[in-house]
């Protein structure tokens, strides 16, 4: 039977959205893009320009519009507890984290003991002239939200074979941001 004759069809579009990484922490990252994404969308973010690329399942928490900017949208993402094949390069320190997914919603980072500037930056938007501004609270994510189910479907679609683990993140990527010497990219290096 041909697929266009199926009844009660559910569709999920898998699209590649390019962006420039602004900040990254253990629980999420922020990037600017010419395209917006719906808050709540899940996907797999690939971070290149590292010695080894990182791929992480992520969920869109905020999409901030910056009218007039070349990259019109700032997207704030939280990482999901979905183990992928290439999740952390050897040059990035990996240690055990003790934060639930709910605790790692981006604005909540300010309440943690680690007052790193990267975490602070994650709660801020950037205006067209490059100055930072605070943005509103992220929507609350209940533990029952079927994020991982959606991510699992995505992972299957992308041929990631590892099973979804629920609950705690179980890892912590420590890195620091340096001013970029490369046009159009943000260079991230592991602890040093």
């Amino acid at each position: 039977m041909n697929w266009w004759t199926w009844r009660d069809v559910h569709g999920a579009v898998i699209e590649r959205v390019e962006g420039r990484l602004l900040d990254i922490s253990a629980s999420g990252c922020r990037l600017e893009s010419a395209s917006t994404l719906e808050v709540g969308s899940v996907g797999v973010i690939e971070i290149r320009d590292l010695e080894r690329p990182i791929a992480e399942a992520a969920r869109v928490c905020h999409a901030i519009e910056r009218p007039g900017a070349f990259a019109r949208y700032v997207l704030q993402l939280e990482f999901l507890p979905l183990p992928l094949e290439h999740r952390a390069p050897a040059s990035v320190a990996v240690c055990t984290g003790d934060h639930s997914v709910v605790d790692q919603v981006l604005p909540g980072l300010g309440e943690r003991s680690d007052p790193s500037p990267t975490n602070d930056a994650l709660t801020a938007g950037v205006t067209a002239d490059g100055t930072a501004q605070r943005v509103g609270e992220a929507p609350e994510i209940a533990p029952s939200t079927p994020i991982t189910e959606t991510a699992e479907a995505l992972a299957n679609a992308l041929n990631y074979r590892r099973p979804v683990t629920r609950g705690r993140m179980g890892h912590d990527i420590r890195c620091q941001r340096e001013p970029s010497a490369f046009s159009g990219t943000t260079w991230i290096r592991a602890d040093d």
Partner: protein, 77 residues
């Protein structure tokens, strides 16, 4: 970022797919769509040809017309 967006299928044929989505896309962009129904699934390569906003139940959504380029894998029965 590879992102998964749920869409509502309005109509489907062998060569075109019309969907309602929450966010817009640009004409010419290529993507893939995963269709599932009653235990079957197929992944298709698609290209957006038209996208325009519509009001559905008082909410702004986008009707996107995709040209079907071909299957990415074989449909499973």
């Amino acid at each position: 970022m590879l992102v998964l967006r749920d869409v509502d299928i309005e109509s489907a044929s062998a060569t075109a797919l019309i969907v309602l989505a929450a966010t817009a896309t640009a004409a010419g962009r290529e993507a893939a769509v995963r269709l599932t129904a009653a235990g079957r699934q197929v992944t298709l390569r698609i290209r957006a040809t038209h996208c325009h906003p519509v009001l559905v139940d008082g909410r702004r959504r986008f009707r996107i017309v995709y040209a079907v380029l071909g299957p990415e894998d074989r449909a499973t029965a």
